[in-house]
Symmetry: D2
Subunit: 109 residues, 4 copies
């Protein structure tokens, strides 16, 4: 079984042991994901990119993955499939010859 | 090779084809992650949990995974390892007997 | 003097007493604003709209205003002017006859 | 009448002309605030602090103020009062002698 599926199973087991599925509607999962992403970002506040605490990065990034994986599970999405599909779509929005070495959004290319 | 590693390799290839690693410092990756999480959340704005557009959920969630995986890669973190470690840590913060069926933050338990 | 200017002066005094202007570049102010907005949102996590703690709403909303006002100050923007201008711009994006009672984004109208 | 009250009246008029109050529960207002804060932050993505587009800063910051002011209105909060109260509270968390020239969070002081 894949790593992704292993992690999702552990997350679901943790959730069900605590009877928390009742709270895990998609909107609140998306809210939780945003809160965790923000806690990760806070580790860089007033600092430069290489000054964030590595131990705390591990924890906050883990929380971000937890909610992203629970959302993927909720919508029965294959994580590898949707990310590879998005990479292909992005290849069209950001052709190499137009975007190489350039940080502009595709709407500004 | 694991699914996670496959996705990370595809993301890194896409980044390097465009010479984008120069922009991918950890702070900006964390900012990008927050922006994508917010775009996902926007799909639920003014709506109830089950009204979000499924096609767009796939895209925005894929973007969230993309930046989370690039960050994990940047810090050389094993995604499965850090999430399972965080689940164990959470088991201590949220003992089943205290948190079953309850949505409170551990600081309010 | 306007209320807005009074608050900004108090914020700037607080900042300067602590010699914090060195950290208050616009990007970090925007990051801080996002973090505070997220802390406000967290008060609604797993809850319905009317269940958030009113005392904590006051504090977190105050923090959001603090960073928004510091940003307005940094860019020498008149808050009343920019919000009224945006309302006018929104009136064009959301004509009453097309958007009355409808929660769609203007791109979906 | 204060500037703050003028802006709030304009926002409420815009909302009521479109019969949008039905969507403006506090939770969705907080979600909208986060989305706008994120759109403001996006102007700094992959850039340094002084590279953000000033015209777009005006617009996105105006959107942040719009939702923050609608939330203040919803909870019948006096913006000046709550921000000044928070500044006083912060003065206790960040005594000048301990925090001068230091960017640490009060929990790390």
């Amino acid at each position: 079984m894949s790593d992704i599926r292993d992690i999702q199973n552990a997350l679901i087991k943790f959730r069900d042991e605590r009877d928390w599925e009742q709270f895990h509607n998609a909107k609140d999962l998306a809210v939780a994901l945003n809160i965790e992403a923000s806690e990760l970002l806070e580790l860089f506040l007033w600092k430069s990119a290489n000054e964030a605490d590595h131990e705390r990065i591990k924890e906050e990034l883990a929380d971000v993955f937890a909610y992203a994986l629970l959302l993927a599970s909720k919508y029965e999405l294959d994580v590898k499939e949707i990310v590879l599909a998005k990479i292909e779509k992005n290849a069209l929005k950001y052709p190499i010859n137009k975007s190489k070495g350039i940080a502009k959004k595709y709407t500004d290319l």
